[in-house]
């Protein structure tokens, strides 16, 4: 009868590709077969060696080789994510960085008079009470009558206190009354520990408005620090209430600050500067901010080709309590970076030429999994409040500000506002200062988790600065220089400039070499595999093929042998039971043969090479005859006489 075509095909497949079990019927034989035929070097020795000691030695050696391979490969794997550093130097036209310049004094004192008069009066009064400082006495006296006006109660809430001793009594400078101080003492100055003279200690107390027993006490060993901190606290309260536009007007304009400007051999003016309002430093001006899309670049190093500006620092209009030093602050940064001028600014002296030579270094780290840094900051769960590219500083400040808004209900003055929040002032949030100081304490002690959340950026640009100062203007050029500069400025104010009102600043590239420090993966997959191969080859002359062999023999074949054994045992047991009950004669011979000869193997196929190999088993049946020349070449020949028709057939189809 004709078979169905599908069946025909399956039958054909069955014939040409018969299913076979493992090479050997028992485990030990499988092992023996494996050891003799494998490509790895140790195993063969184990089987071939004579004598127990040698065999043992070879087993030991093979095992230790395996152990070494595993150890070394594990080592290689563990070191896979390591980075190598390469430094390249390129000489090229360099982009000029953004240079942000601020006057140290944020706002014109004369313009701020309206807002600060009460605070100043208060400060002067405190100075007088505690230190007998009476320079501004007449002014204070004059204003005493108008003193008890609107805002003063806030000053009274947080007054400066003088501590008699550690018995927690303090003198309030307003009333002169002594009052009990309760609450934990926070020392702003650590030197307090050493100062036994308790008369010197002054400070202030911040209390929780809702719960007056919750107080924090800030003490300072020096009145200078105490007064400045106290002044700043109140100053921030006042400034937080002034809208941004007004503050910009109160601060210096570009014309006020910049007298002359010269870049790359060409004259420049205020249009090359972008205004940037900094909460603590007022109006700052950024040269080459890249705002209109173009970034200036230098193609020649040296002081003549950099930025040269003469700044007008109006020292007479400084706030006496807020800032105590004179000059300007500058910071060199990338166009996309936020200038943290209060943190990392360089101060510029007046009546001097400050020459700042720059050296440009660009660094790049590898991000995960090599190191824990972030490329863009997008994977950091902290919202970037600054409108600039991510940096660690930005993240920390934003994180703090967020915590501030969450716990105190308003935003800290020195940092930008998150959406929907407003700056703290004690009209709306009488409690904020206590809250802020508590929070800041936590932040410094890393209890807010900001330091853990924020990661450093993977790539950053750095301008290493070499700052040096020369006297400017020189004794002989002072006269004409000041006259001409006054004339330059003369259109606005009719007074001759003083040299202590001026600062000359030069920012230039020392050389146009850009150092680029980058991390590269030390290993690629290719190299890792090569190293694996080297290890495997060195100890055992093994390859992936061997690994596959091992998997095949040790897992698949051994398992199938074990399974077969179990199956036969079960079958035997079943048969025995069957036999016991109905009393059938056992077919032990049959079973034994099956166990020995692998029943799966017995099929109607022609004997192939494999079966042929197993069938005669010359070692087991040592017939007394001339030993057949059992060379491998011979075996081969037989092998391929058998296989020839097969392969031929395959080839034809």
């Amino acid at each position: 009868a004709a078979m169905a075509p599908g069946k025909k095909i399956t039958a054909r497949i069955k014939r040409t590709l018969p299913v076979r079990g493992p090479q050997a019927p028992t485990l030990s034989e499988l092992m023996r077969w494996y050891c003799l035929n494998t490509n790895t070097h140790g195993c063969r020795r184990i089987v071939v060696s004579r004598g127990r000691l040698r065999r043992f030695l070879w087993i030991l050696l093979t095992l230790s080789a395996v152990g070494l391979i595993i150890w070394q490969c594990a080592e290689l794997l563990m070191n896979y994510y390591s980075a190598s550093v390469s430094v390249t130097v390129q000489f090229q036209k360099l982009p000029f960085p953004a240079v942000t310049i601020c006057n140290i004094n944020p706002y014109k004192y004369s313009a701020m008079k309206d807002y600060l008069s009460e605070l100043d009066k208060e400060t002067k009064k405190a100075l007088e009470t505690f230190y007998g400082f009476s320079e501004g006495k007449s002014k204070v006296r004059r204003s005493v009558d108008e003193w008890n006006s609107s805002g003063s109660d806030f000053f009274q809430q947080i007054p400066l206190l003088k501590f008699e001793d550690f018995s927690k009594t303090a003198t309030d400078f307003h009333s002169g009354q002594k009052r009990k101080i309760e609450g934990s003492v926070f020392h702003k100055d650590s030197s307090i520990v050493n100062s036994g003279d308790s008369n010197d200690i002054i400070g202030f107390q911040l209390c929780d408005a809702n719960n007056s027993s919750e107080c924090a006490l800030y003490t300072f060993s020096s009145g200078v620090n105490a007064i400045q901190e106290w002044y700043k606290l109140h100053y921030m309260n006042i400034m937080a209430q002034i809208p941004l536009e007004t503050k910009e007007k109160l601060s210096y304009s570009a014309d006020d600050l910049l007298l002359t400007c010269f870049f790359d051999g060409l004259s420049c003016d205020k249009r090359h500067f972008t205004r940037f309002h900094h909460p603590l430093h007022g109006n700052c001006y950024t040269f080459n901010s890249g705002e209109n899309g173009t970034v200036l670049s230098t193609s020649t190093g040296g002081s003549e080709y950099g930025l040269q500006v003469v700044l007008y620092i109006d020292e007479a209009d400084y706030n006496p309590f807020l800032v105590t030093s004179t000059g300007a602050k500058i910071i060199v940064h990338d166009q996309n970076e936020y200038p943290f001028i209060e943190d990392i600014g360089t101060e510029i002296e007046t009546a001097a030429a400050t020459s700042i030579g720059m050296h440009f270094t660009r660094s790049r780290k590898l991000s995960k999994p090599y190191s824990d840094c972030t490329e863009t900051g997008a994977d950091i769960p902290v919202e970037n409040l600054y409108n600039k590219s991510y940096s660690l500083q930005i993240c920390l400040h934003s994180c703090f500000q967020k915590a501030m808004v969450d716990s105190c209900g308003c935003a800290q003055y020195a940092q930008p506002l998150p959406a929907g929040a407003e700056y703290c002032n004690y009209k709306k949030n009488p409690n904020w200062m206590y809250c802020y100081y508590k929070l800041h304490e936590k932040f410094v002690k890393e209890q807010l988790g900001c330091q853990q959340i924020c990661k450093d950026a993977c790539s950053f640009k750095e301008w290493a600065l070499t700052t040096s100062i020369a006297q400017w203007p020189s004794a002989v050029s002072e006269d004409w220089m000041l006259r001409v500069l006054s004339w330059d400025k003369g259109q606005k104010i009719n007074k001759k400039l003083n040299k202590t009102d001026l600062a000359n600043l030069m920012v230039f590239y020392k050389d146009l070499n850009e150092r680029f420090i980058s991390e590269n993966p030390a290993n690629t997959l290719v190299i890792l595999l090569s190293n694996f191969g080297g290890q495997l080859g060195l100890w055992m002359s093994c390859s992936v093929v061997c690994v596959i062999e091992i998997i095949e023999v040790f897992f698949i074949d051994s398992l199938s042998i074990v399974m077969r054994r179990q199956w036969q045992k079960a079958k035997k047991w079943w048969n025995n039971r069957q036999q016991e009950r109905p009393g059938k004669p056992p077919q032990s011979g049959d079973l034994e043969r099956q166990g020995h000869d692998n029943p799966v193997c017995i099929d109607e196929d022609l004997p192939t090479f494999n079966t042929a190999l197993r069938l005669p088993l010359p070692q087991e049946s040592p017939l007394p005859r001339t030993p057949p020349p059992n060379y491998s070449t011979l075996r081969l020949e037989t092998a391929f006489t058998e296989q020839l028709p097969d392969t031929l057939e395959l080839g034809q189809h």
Binding site: D269, S303, S530, V545, L636, E637, T638, F640
Partner: protein, 642 residues
């Protein structure tokens, strides 16, 4: 003929392959090769055979792919850097000290007198624009020739499109349109008069540019520098050196470690920006000094006098000493790398030597000694080594000479060229300023100059303190004045005196050195690793493979020949149905039993079939190689005959 026979025999020897057909050969190869995959192909059952065949193919292609990657990596010549930080005995850097002001005003006054009077008068006019009340009628008439070459003008930009240009010494106002300024004033919204400097390529010609400045101070300074450059370039070098500060006047005290030194230990060099400069430890004639201890006590201590009263008022407005640390035998480029030291202070400079050692071509594009840079190094006249600054300046000067016909005063001159001055080269200022602002020329110079492979920087930690202190002021000034001038009068003051301490920091070097990330050894071991990993192979396996290819080629040759022969024979048979055996065939038949003069190709298969017949391996027919050689010998005479 003899030779041919030898040749053929040699070829036959070579050809003694392991098989006669491709299949035979392949099977033999698979069984005997040392690579791991192929053996499996023939040893396993048909299903596994297929799997192993594909696995082997896959592994082989993987090996080749990864080899490609490895070779590519090698050819990209990557480098790795290693960093070392520490303290070691090092050469103390060369220290160049200059005065910020190039010449003593008292010496240069005769040359600059006219110019100074001119600028004074001009300033007078600028600052007090109302004419009449100035004092010019008292003073002798001004030399206006200097003025007319490069006049200072005021540009009134109230009207943007039609700015009014006002020559300071002339009352008539000329509209800008007449002079066709190539550089129209850009400041659109500044309604203030702007100090300007104009230069024309030829006096009276229409080809003029106005360099505009927003500040009069800048304009005056730039104008003065341009004019004084022109005047001083005519002065011979000896005279210029004489006008500058002398070592014995400037260097008052010197101490290196515990050893005293004085101005004689300094090498004088003339620097166009700063006049006479003095270099300590330049290493030109004598061995460079070593410093083996960190700290200020073991460094260089200097006391300098810059005599600020003798400054040229309009030339340099900043007062102080200019100093620079650099390598031995290199030229100090003070404008680029120099720092200031302020008068009346003690400046301490802690030094860290930051070295970068790079490998040359092909690892990075740098030059070892500048010999392969296409720019002629003009600084070689100082016997100094190549540096990129020297290259850039030489490049500029060469361009300047080519375009303007004269050299700029700030840079060294090649043979047979003069410095520019207003008399001999009236258009030089225009030419110079257009060249200086030309981005294209700068870019050409940047592209043609290469950085040096060993880049050394001196990182300085600068700190300052007031010096001398008020209490010690008197006696210090007294002693220093006495030592210098042998007089009991105090000739020094706070405005002129500078103390310098230059010393190595606790860690005085940071060396970044490059090494090749991929060497040939690395490449070979990686290639071996890959081959070993996937296939367990080695170079010998490759040779085996090559051998097999040669063998198979031989088989091809044999097949072709036998096919040709068969064709011939068939033709011959067609003519003579029963061809008589040739003599050689007869001879062969006599000597070789296995010989058959039928088609050679059938022979091995027949023999195999005979062998396959006995199912049990009894004594098989000796299947030695000698037997196999048969067809060769058959072939021999045939090919001979051909």
């Amino acid at each position: 003929m003899n030779l041919k026979k030898y040749f053929i025999r040699a070829l036959h020897r070579l050809q003694k392959g392991p098989g006669y057909t491709y299949k035979e050969l392949l099977v033999w190869y698979c069984d005997n090769t040392n690579t791991h995959g192929p053996k499996r192909i023939i040893k396993e059952g048909p299903k596994k055979k297929l799997i192993w065949f594909f696995l082997t193919l896959l592994f082989a292609s993987l090996v080749f792919w990864q080899w490609g990657i490895l070779i590519n990596t090698y050819l990209s010549y990557n480098v790795t850097s290693s960093l070392s930080i520490g303290f070691k005995t090092m050469k103390f850097p060369a220290v160049t000290v200059c005065n910020a002001n190039p010449y003593k005003y008292s010496e240069a006054k005769p040359l600059l007198k006219e110019l100074d009077r001119l600028i004074d008068a001009a300033l007078e006019r600028i600052l007090q624009p109302s004419p009449g009340n100035s004092s010019e009628n008292i003073s002798p008439p001004l030399d206006l020739e200097l003025w007319y070459q490069i006049p200072l003008v005021l540009i009134d930009e109230h009207d943007k499109d039609n700015p009014i240009i006002l020559d300071i010494f002339e009352t008539n106002q000329t509209a800008a349109g007449i002079q066709s300024p190539t550089d129209t004033p850009a400041s659109a919204d500044t309604p203030t008069p702007v100090g300007n400097e104009s230069s024309c390529s030829h006096p009276g010609s229409d080809n003029c540019t106005y360099r505009n400045f927003t500040s009069a101070a800048q304009a005056v300074t730039e104008w003065y520098i341009l004019q004084s450059t022109s005047i001083l370039s005519k002065v011979p070098l000896q005279e210029r050196i004489r006008m500058g500060y002398q070592a014995e006047d400037m260097i008052l005290a010197c101490l290196y470690g515990a050893e005293p030194c004085n101005y004689k230990n300094f090498t004088q060099i003339y620097h166009p920006d700063h006049g006479n400069c003095y270099i300590f430890n330049w290493g030109m004639d004598e061995e460079a000094l070593n410093s083996s201890n960190p700290g200020a006590e073991f460094g260089l201590k200097l006391i300098l006098d810059i005599s600020q009263q003798d400054y040229i008022p309009y030339l340099s407005s900043a007062a102080g000493a200019r100093l620079m640390l650099h390598q031995q035998k290199s030229f100090p480029f003070l404008k680029d790398q120099g720092i200031y030291a302020m008068a009346g202070t003690e400046t301490s400079i802690g030094v860290l030597v930051d070295e970068l050692e790079r490998m040359g071509y092909p690892y990075s594009d740098c030059t070892m000694n500048g010999s392969d840079v296409p720019v002629k190094n003009l600084y070689s006249e100082y016997n100094t080594s190549y540096s990129i600054q020297a290259c850039l300046r030489s490049c500029f000067q060469n361009d300047m000479i080519e375009i303007c016909g004269c050299g700029h005063y700030m840079f060294p001159l090649p043979q047979g060229v003069n410095y520019c001055n207003n008399e001999d080269y009236p258009g030089w200022a225009y030419c110079y300023s257009s060249l200086r602002s030309s981005i294209r020329h700068r870019q050409i110079c940047i592209d043609s100059c290469k950085e040096t492979c060993n880049d050394t920087q001196y990182k300085m930690t600068i700190s300052m303190a007031d010096w001398p202190s008020e209490a010690s002021e008197d006696w210090i000034f007294h002693i220093l004045s006495y030592e210098r001038d042998m007089s009991t009068n105090v000739t020094l003051d706070r405005n002129g005196i500078i103390k310098l301490n230059i010393y190595f920091q606790e860690y005085n070097y940071r060396t970044i050195s490059e090494s090749a990330a991929t060497t040939i050894v690395w490449l070979l071991s990686s290639l071996g690793g890959q081959f070993g990993f996937w296939m367990g192979g080695s170079v010998l396996c490759l040779i085996e493979f090559g051998e097999i290819i040669i063998d198979s080629l031989w088989i091809t040759v044999i097949n072709i020949i036998s096919w040709c022969k068969g064709l011939k024979q068939r033709r011959a048979q067609a003519r003579y149905p029963d061809a008589p055996p040739t003599v050689s065939e007869l001879v062969e038949a006599h000597t070789n039993l296995g010989f058959q003069h039928e088609a050679t190709g059938t022979l091995p298969r027949d023999r195999d079939r005979e062998e396959a017949l006995p199912p049990e391996p009894g004594t098989p027919p000796p299947n030695y190689d000698s037997l196999r050689v048969q067809p060769l010998d058959v072939l021999g005479p045939d090919s001979d005959a051909e």
